[in-house]
Each structure stands twice: as structure tokens, then as C-alpha cells.
């Protein structure tokens, strides 16, 4: 697979994970996003959640490939900040996934995990957008 293709797969997976993650807040229908052409599916939280899991699986696969192959790439986290946020997202996401298949966690822990996942996801998303814009500006 070419470097360009991998980069695009990564970008699409980040976009899908971010959109389906933000969409877990009930705002897409409220603010007419689901009324846009071909966006009706986003009104269904189960479909959104499935998209989130699939895109996250692609991201995890790519990140593990990158770590194992030690390839020099131009996508994915490049700083300790990015890796830190990704780590937080992975740990909190794993707890949420276990909760969703029926494993019990005490409610206060779930609140902490949910808020950490949400805020680190937003920080990751905005950092990625800023880094992308900075790179475009440079080139």
C-alpha cells in the first residue's frame, strides 16, 4: 500500500471517529446535520456507535502497524502531546467498550471515563486540525 493511500485511510478514519464521537452528543439532529443529503443515518445512535467502533479499529490497526514497522510516516501523532491524548482515548475507550458489552463499572468511574474520553477526543481532533493547517501553510 502506498504512503499516500495510508495517509488517506488514516485521515478518513480520524474524521469518521471524530464525527461519530461528537455525534454521540445529541446535537446532530438538533442542528440539522442529519437533514443534509445522505446524512440521515447519523440520526441513529446505534449506527453512529458502529461507525465509531469500525473507524477506531482501523486507527488502532494503523497505529500498531506504524509502531511495529518503525516506518517513517507523515501521519498520526508526532509529539508526546498527541501520543498522550491517543493513550488516554485508548484506555478510556477500552473501558467504555467493556461497559457496552455488559461489564459492570461503578457509576462515578464511568462519569470520569466518559468526560476524559470526550475532552481528550476534542483536544486530539482540534490538535490534528491545527497541525494539518500548519502543515498546509508551510507547504
Amino acid at each position: 500500500m502506498s504512503a499516500r493511500t495510508l495517509k488517506w485511510i488514516y485521515a478518513l478514519a480520524v474524521a469518521a471517529a471524530s464525527f461519530s464521537g461528537v455525534g454521540q452528543l445529541p446535537i446532530l439532529k438538533r442542528y440539522y446535520i442529519t437533514d443534509l443529503p445522505l446524512m440521515g443515518w447519523a440520526a441513529n445512535f446505534v449506527t453512529l456507535s458502529t461507525v465509531h467502533y469500525v473507524s477506531v479499529a482501523v486507527l488502532i490497526g494503523l497505529i500498531m502497524w506504524r509502531l511495529a514497522s518503525r516506518a517513517k510516516v507523515r501521519w498520526g501523532p508526532l509529539t508526546w502531546w498527541g501520543w498522550g491524548l491517543l493513550g488516554l482515548l485508548a484506555v478510556t475507550g477500552a473501558v467504555k467498550m467493556l461497559r457496552n458489552v455488559g461489564v459492570y463499572f461503578p457509576p462515578p468511574l464511568i462519569v470520569t471515563v466518559n468526560l476524559t474520553h470526550m475532552f481528550s477526543g476534542m483536544a486530539f481532533m482540534f490538535t490534528a486540525i491545527a497541525a494539518g493547517l500548519a502543515r498546509v501553510g508551510k507547504s
Binding site: A3, L6, Q24, L25, P26, I27, R30, Y31, Y32, F45, V46, S49, T50, Y53, V54, V56, A57, V58, I60, G61, L62, I63, M64, W65, R66, L67, A68, S69, R70, A71, K72, V73, R74, M97, R99, N100, V101, G102, Y104, P106, P107, I110, V111, V113, N114, L115, M118
Partner: protein
Amino acid sequence: MSRQVNRRQLLKLAAASAAALATAGPGQVAAEVAGAGMVCTLLDLAKCVGCEECVNACQEQWQKTVPDPVEPIPKPFPDRVPIEDFSKRKDITDRLTPYNFLYVEHLEFKYKGNDTELHIPRRCMHCLNPPCADLCPFGACRQEANGVVHIASDICMGGAKCRKVCPWHIPQRQSGVGLYLKIMPRYAGNGAMFKCHRCLPLLEQGKKPRCVEVCPEGVQQIGPRREMVAKAVALAKARAKADCGDEGRWREYIYGLTENGGTNTLYVSPIPFKVVNKVLMAEHKKLIKQENAEALAAGRRPERGPHGRPHMGPVGDVMDHVKWVSWLVVAAPVAGLIAGLSARNKTGGSNNER
């Protein structure tokens, strides 16, 4: 509620559970395992006379815990977001509202040529794996270790996602109350959600829920899930035998055992639930039409959805998708690792740009 069990009771419970499991399908076995340690209620609908003592007791105990909204309630933006206000209609007892966690369906219909009455107390089913709690973005809707599913209304934003993902659309919204008022009341959130918490504060004191305690007919029982399942299955078999002469059709007479992957509320009826649901839906359709006309006449926006009146139809497991898709998440790092190591071997470890 005493949690002490002597050896004889334990043996009886084990035997009853084994009998129930031996006669159950894999769905029920899975529900049993998932519900270990949970407390479950069993409602024998043949006993319910529809006196609504349970409804009155529930309202007396909990209505005062639901706050009144601010005046005026902030108008949500955009206009499509409805204000849902039941604060002037607290006396409603024929549906679920933020101020009424339990109601009784009163059905009168012909069954096998006979005039039949059935009264069904309705409230949250307290699912084994509740989508309302799993998918709540803040963790306001939550499940306790004893299986009670409840909403911490002090951190709920009232987005009503819990109501949308609930197969029975149980939680009800009161606009103008809760945390959202302190953040961006017009642009995010719309109140707080409320529903039955099976008298959690009383359960924690070792007491029974009010609806169970005050029922003069003993319609409801509460106890460890295994025990309640064993009783419900035995009762459903007896009801099936009495109604159609075939004990093997007991699943048609029990509701809540496998619905949405299993719940901690088990209904047993003397009439198959597919018949009950048909009558229920016809009744709901009439009421919804009538209420929408009344709302329009009163200048209110007609409500969407089932108007706080849950169905009793078949329900698949809402969270079932996570079971298969989470395998993808587990397999992905392994696949990535293998592919990465293989690429590294091929290139001899050189840091080529990808």
C-alpha cells in the same frame, strides 16, 4: 429486605435455578449469567386488579424529588427543539411523565370469546445491559451493581438520548430544570430526564420498593434474579397450560426475560403477550390521537413518540452490535502488529517513508 439465606433455601434456589436453566434456551442462559448479583422483580398480571395503590405510593414518595422548572423556561434554539413541561400536569397518572414514574394500563377486550380485563403496571424494565446507561454521553444515566438503572438528574443535560435508544422510550424529560440552565440553556441540553429508579434509596436501606410494598394483591415480588427467573418460568408454564394446554409455549406468556437481551422486570400474563400488545397498541393509538388534538387545542406542540406509554412487543438487543464490532477493535491491533512486523522484515528495518 433480608439478604440472609439458609442452607435449605440455598439448595432449593439452586435446584430451581438449575431446572429453569435446563429448560431454557441459550438466550436465557446468557441473560442469567449477565444478571448474576442483580435484583429482579416479577409481576404476576393475573393478580393485578388495577387499584393503582402502587402509582399513588410512587407519586407520594418521589414526585417531590423532581424539581419545578424555572419560569419562563428558556426557549431552546433552534425552534424545532420542543419544550417539554409537565410541571402544570403533575396529576397525570395514565402515562409516564417526569413526575410520574409508574402507571397502570387498564385493558378490556374479548379473548377467546370472553370479556377479559387485564391491568399492567408499567415503568422502567431495568435492562441487564441498558442502552440508556451505555450510550449516555455523560454517565448521568447509570446502572448500579444490583441492576437498578437510574438517572443522576443533577448531571443530566436532558438531551433525551436515553429515551431515543430505550426500546420502550421510558425516560421522560422536564425542560427548565437541571445543569443545562447553568451552561448554555438555549443552545445545549433541554432539561433533565426522569424515570423509575426502583426506589434505590430504599433498596440501599434494605427496604422494598414502594410499589412492591403497598400492593394489596401481592402482584410484585422482588429478589435475586436467579430466584425470580425460576419462579417466572414456573408461573409462565402454569399460565400456558391453563390457557392453551401446552406448557411448552410458556415463552409466549412471559415478558422481559429475553427482551433487549434480558431485563430485571419479568411480567407473567394469563394471556399471550402478542395478544396483549395488539390490544395495547390499539389503545395507545386512540389515546395519542386524542392527546395530540387536545395539545393543539391548548396551543401546545403535539408530542412525538409513544407519549410515555411503552409497548409490550418483541425487542431485540439494542447493544448487540457492540458484541461483534468490539471483536474488530480487539483484532485490529493484532492485525496491525503482524502487518507491521512483516513490513519491517521485508525492508530489513530501514525507516522508509510511508
